[in-house]
Each structure stands twice: as structure tokens, then as C-alpha cells.
Symmetry: C2
Subunit: 412 residues, 2 copies
């Protein structure tokens, strides 16, 4: 049986942890040792996440993102599966790999690749099926950031204004004097930690408040996401450096909802799901006040994620209609040269900007979720995964060079 090691811990590998083989949630009823529940918190541990990331709505409350009454938009196909599966590349540690095996080594649940808008590759693994929505985690942020940037472009929002201008209830909190743009670009100074491997990190208190993790008996913390956000205090300065904190996205989405009168789920439906002709309804985890979790709560089908990528690749145009202003997409692609990370990436409007030779931008989520848009290769790659390690570090070593190699191959 295959074993992989990360951070000194051993895990079943991608094939050995196949959730169908392991029998999670199978049977009438499933045997006690094969059950995955929200209350036990085991839904977010490995290997259970290999099942649960394709079944989030069966674990907690969610709001629908309706695809609308129309027929789904159609993808043309030009199958290149064998060629792509055999693609050789070298990972960031200098180890030679092949595309298909790299998917198993990063616990992929599915991968769709578009080239010039056609599906050239589409495979599903583990518990995922084409119609099943899979947790996007922080890929959700890029949807929210794109909507925010579009509202700024349309003059509905002013990204130079302070958050407290829109949300007076946040006077006295970290966001009182942070501008909307600083929040959109995660350039805020917050007394709030986001370390996935640390059970005491503030991230988890936030997750409990917004219904993304169970609450222990006697829980007396914030009851809703908004209650939690009002507890965050400033530390350091705003506008100086990229400091990735999910709570920024929630504040950004809160501003959007306050000003538009629509929830994040409604806006996804009206601005993206219906006009893109998505195939399936998506959904978003909600807190106990019914607020969708814009920082990481979206689940969508893989092809519908690819549709969003294709919209971005085509500078906001879909079937001849400008759904997102071209200047919004161009602004994301330009990135933020003044705030590059050591790996060369920058972050703009909730997108990761690679600044690489393919002009690629990425939406990324924990456990290996990724939407990779490479205009110079006319490529969009959407992948879902359920990697044992939340932080992207473990799979990035493989996935980043893999995406680049794929783009270079397709560019030809």
C-alpha cells in the first residue's frame, strides 16, 4: 500500500486513500467507523476529506447558487488525454514526474483543461463526479474579488473609501481605517493569525463563528461571521505588505452585500452562474445568520469552475457579452509589482498573479484547489483535490511546475 510523507507525517497515497475503496459513508446505514460527521470534526481530516470535499452540503447548511432556467453553455472537445497524461516535467525539487502520476501524488479529485475554449482533458478521481460540486475553499475568494472589482469599476463601490464608511459597525475594529482596496488586496495589519496547522490559530475561531467547523459544548464565542469580524483588532499598518487573511474577504463581501442589498450567493447567480450557462447549481456554506462564506465556502462542479476561468482568459467576454469589465481582468493580470512575494507572485483583487511567461493568474484554495488561467497558452486548468496537508506548500512543489509545463506544451 502506497504511503507518502509530508512534514514528517505519513499518509495513504492518492490511490490507497480512494474514498470509494475505503467505503466512507457507504451502506444503509454506513458502519460507525465509516461515518463522516460535521459534529465530530472528522470531515476535515485525512483521509475523510477525500469524501467530504465532494459532499459538503451533506454535512452542514448551505445556500443554493441557481444556474437559472436556460440550457447550459456547450464546450467543444478535442481530446488530448493520452498526450497530457504522458507529459513529463520536473518538480520544484528537481524530480522528474509525469502528468497523470502527479495528479495521484497530489490527491487530485478531478482536472479539466481547456485550450482555446475546448476541453482537451477531463478526468475525475476519488469521490468526485462531473455533476458533483466540490469544495473550492479559497478559490471562492477570487469569485468574490472579481465581483468586488467589477462593482468598483461600475462606481457602485469606491475602493479608496475606508471600510467603516460602508460598515459603521466596524468603527473601533481593525477595519476602521483600512480602505476597501487594502482589504481586496490583503494589505491589512490584523491581530489575527491564519495558520492551518495550528489548532489555536485565530482562523479556527473564525471558522467556528461562521459554521465551517463544529462548536464544542459550552461554546460562548461569536455566533455569526459578522460578530466575529467585529472582534478583530489592528496590528501594525495597513497598505504596506501582503498578509493573507481570509477575514479580509469576508469584510469585502459584507461591504458588497450592504451596498447592493444582495448576498454573495445571489450575486454569483445573477452575475456569473446564469450568464455563463453553468451546468449545475453551486452552493455556499452559510453561518447561522444565513450569510454565505465568501472567504472559502463555495462548492461548484469542475466544469463550471473552468467556465469562470475561461471568462477570465477572454477578458470578461462570454458568448459575445462583456460579463466582467475587461479592465478588471487586465488589472488582475497586471498584478502588484510593488508587493511581490519571494516566489515572484503578487496578489490583486483576491487573485494570485504568477508574473510568469504564460501571464498566468491563479485562484487557489487549501488542500489543492486551483484555477490556473494562462492567456499566453490560451489555457485554463481547473483542478480539485483533497490533499492531506491544508497548506499549498506540499502540492505546489509539484502542481506549479506541472501547470507551467502543461501551458508550455499547449502553447506549442
Amino acid at each position: 500500500m502506497g504511503i507518502l510523507e509530508f512534514d514528517g507525517q505519513c499518509y495513504l497515497d492518492g490511490r490507497a486513500s480512494d474514498p470509494r475503496e475505503l467505503g466512507w459513508m457507504h451502506g444503509a446505514p454506513p458502519p460507525a467507523d465509516k461515518r463522516i460527521t460535521f459534529e465530530s470534526d472528522c470531515f476535515r481530516t485525512f483521509p475523510q476529506i477525500r469524501w467530504s470535499l465532494s459532499h459538503m452540503r451533506e454535512l452542514t447548511a448551505t445556500v443554493n447558487v441557481w444556474r437559472g432556467p436556460g440550457a447550459p453553455s456547450h464546450f467543444q472537445r478535442q481530446d488530448r488525454t493520452n498526450e497530457i497524461d504522458a507529459l513529463a516535467f520536473t518538480d520544484a525539487n528537481g524530480r522528474p514526474r509525469r502528468f497523470e502520476e502527479a495528479l495521484f501524488d497530489t490527491y487530485a479529485d478531478g482536472m479539466v483543461v481547456l485550450h482555446r475554449g475546448r476541453i482537451v482533458y477531463e478526468r475525475y478521481f476519488g469521490a468526485l463526479e462531473p455533476q458533483l460540486p466540490h469544495a473550492c475553499h479559497s478559490v471562492t475568494k477570487s469569485y468574490a474579488g472579481t465581483l468586488a472589482a467589477a462593482f468598483v469599476h461600475e462606481g457602485v463601490l469606491d475602493d479608496r473609501k475606508a471600510i467603516s464608511h460602508y460598515l459603521p459597525e466596524l468603527y473601533g475594529t481593525a477595519w476602521e481605517d483600512a480602505t476597501l482596496r487594502q482589504v481586496m488586496d490583503m494589505q491589512t495589519g490584523l491581530a489575527h493569525t491564519e495558520i492551518y496547522a495550528d489548532e489555536n490559530s485565530d482562523l479556527w475561531a473564525y471558522s467556528r463563528a461562521c459554521g465551517f467547523r463544529p462548536r464544542l459544548a459550552g461554546y460562548d464565542g461569536p455566533q455569526t461571521m459578522c460578530d466575529y469580524l467585529a472582534t478583530v483588532r489592528k496590528e501594525g499598518a495597513h497598505g504596506e505588505t501582503l498578509d493573507y487573511k481570509t477575514v479580509n474577504t469576508e469584510v469585502m463581501a459584507w461591504v458588497i452585500s450592504r451596498v447592493t442589498g444582495c448576498s454573495f450567493a445571489q450575486l454569483l447567480q445573477e452575475r456569473l452562474w446564469a450568464p455563463l450557462g453553468c451546468e449545475e447549481d453551486a452552493y455556499v456554506v452559510v453561518d447561522s445568520a444565513g450569510i454565505p462564506m465568501a472567504g472559502g465556502g463555495l462548492s461548484t462542479s469542475l466544469r463550471d469552475l473552468a467556465r469562470f476561468g475561461e471568462l477570465m482568459r477572454c477578458e470578461g467576454v462570454w458568448s459575445g457579452k462583456q460579463l466582467i469589465p475587461a479592465s478588471v481582468v487586465q488589472d488582475v493580470q497586471k498584478g502588484d509589482h510593488s508587493a511581490k512575494l519571494p516566489d515572484g507572485y503578487s496578489y490583486r483583487s483576491q487573485w494570485w498573479v504568477t508574473h510568469n511567461e504564460l501571464g498566468a493568474v491563479e485562484a487557489r484554495g487549501i488542500h489543492g484547489q486551483r484555477l490556473y488561467i494562462a492567456p499566453e497558452a490560451e489555457m485554463v486548468a481547473a483542478r480539485f483535490a483533497s490533499h492531506p496537508v491544508a497548506s499549498a506548500d506540499a502540492s505546489d512543489l509539484i502542481t506549479m511546475p506541472q501547470m507551467l509545463a502543461l501551458g508550455l506544451m499547449l502553447r506549442g
Copy 2:
């Protein structure tokens, strides 16, 4: 402001309790006094149910019933709204009423009427929209019973066999010596009460076990529906009289899942939602073992409920295909003459049989859910409601004569 009285209690009437007017769950975030949460149990009290019955998935975990990848089936239309709204009839108390006002007086959330397969009437009220699934409550049972009867017809199940033949874990419980047919027809003797107005009724313990009501701090009862069912003991005899208990439906669905290897939600999808060309995905509330609640957990759009009614009216044929055996439908329509209630109804395979001049059968759920199929009038009427009183008694006085009058009008 309009007030209605039931059982000596006063309630806002249908118009005054409009959930949009009352502002439930509106705002970013909704004000504390306008929130509806699962944990507080307020989601199932009036007037909050006027919102929550159209939003069950936002309150708890649910499993999807996929409509499949095809285009939805198309309804022809022949609008008779004005004529139907003006229809006069006399309620069971001898009071003259008109159709439209009777909908408000019974807290209707929506009503679709088909005549000869065409939509002649379609209206939505309160929080309901055409694409939104609404809680069916016990209308769910008639879906499950129809599937069970079809499996009996196909020889997959034998309705003369004892439940313990299929579910050995139920030896020593009420169901040990109950036959599948007795369970399907609710002719079991159970030490289990089902009184909606009594907070101490066993019904609520069952609801807490299967995730349909919140658990109080320190809850140490059964963790899942199956755990609960194993606690029910026999009282009296099986096969003697109709004694309506929802737990029978859960046992029936458990047998189906054990034998077919498919969950209730999967069977709804494969046998009904996809072949009927339903417009929207439906969903079912699940317990912490992921088991869908076949006794009352389904939410569906109103038009998709009407599709199921039309399938039954056409003796199981849809678009030229026999989806449910005709003999199954005929057996339901025949009812059970040996076990008629004082009001003339009998119960067969989880359907209410009126034995009236329209040959009508009904699926019925608490708070006013109803699917009324009247072959002699070539009519199907599907309605959702959020009546303050769970028991059907309050709205039946109006709705039963209303349905009959509508059928007689359409029969002409």
C-alpha cells in the same frame, strides 16, 4: 391587520404573515430579531415557517437529488387563473368561500394546477419562487411508497416478508414481525406517539435523532435515525388498523436501501427526477449518518411536484415511457376498503385515497402540503403552504372541499 384563530390561538393571517413583509433573514446581516436559525428551533414555529419551509437547506444538512443533464420536460399552458381564482365553494363548516381567498386563509405558498397535463393555474406567495424547493413534509412518504410498491411489483422486494427478514438488526423491535406491506400501509402496532401539538410526543425524539430538530445541550439520545428506529417497541397488533406513524416510512425506506444498495435520494434521482425531466434539483434532509429522511425530508419545486402528480394521473406513463408500473398506481387508487377512516379515506402504499367521485388520491404533509390527483377530472393540483398549525385539520376544512370543487369545475 388580519388575525385568524385556530384551536383557541390567534395568528397573523396569510397576508399579514407574508415573510417578505416581515423581513425575515433580510439584511447584511439580518437584525438579530429577524434571524431564523435551526439551533433555536424557531425555524419550525409560526410565523418563521413562512420563510423557512422555502429555505430548509439553509438551516441544516441536505443531500441533492440531481435532475440529470437533460433539458427539462415542457408543460403546455392554458391559463385559467381568473376563472379559478373566482371559483366559489362551500367549506366543511358550510361557509361560502372563493378559491383565491381560500389560498390566503390556508397560508398557501404556491399552487399549480394541471388539467389534461397543461398548466391552467400557477401562483406563488410568501417566500416561495418557482425555482425554490419547498419542504414537502409527509408528501415525501408518497414518493417513497411509490418506489417501494414498484420494487414489490418488480420482485425486488416481497411485501409479505417480515421487516426483520431484510433488517436483522430489527429483531426484538416493533418491526420484527411486521410485514413490509403492513409497514407500507401503516398498519402496525407501535409504542410510539405522533402528536404534533405535544412537545413530549415520540415524534419529536425521532426528529431529533434524524437531524430534523435541534438537540439540547447534553443530548444523549439516539445519534441517527436507524439508532432511533431500533428503540421502538410493539404495542398491540400489526395488520389490524391504520395507525399513521412516520417511523414506518423510515423503516420501509431502510429496507429499500438495504436491498437496492441505493439511498432514497439516489432512487428519486434515477427513477423519477431524471426520467421526468424535472426542472430543478430537489434535496432531502439527512441525519448524521447521511441517511435521507424518507418520512418527511424532501424539498422540491412546485412544478416538479406537479410532474410527479401527472405521472400518477397517467398511470405511471411519462412521455411514452412506463416509469412506474400501471398496476402500482391502480393498486393505490383502489385504496383499502377494509380499513376506511370515518372521513371515508383509506391509506395505501403511503398515499391517502379519498374514494370520492373524482377517484382522487392525495399525498399530504403537515402545515398544508398537498398533491391532489383526480383522474376523473384529468386534474393534478400541487400546493405548498406554511400554515401555523402542523396538523391538517385546520386547513382540510377548507382545502378538501376546495380541491373537490376545482376538480368538478375542470371536469365540466
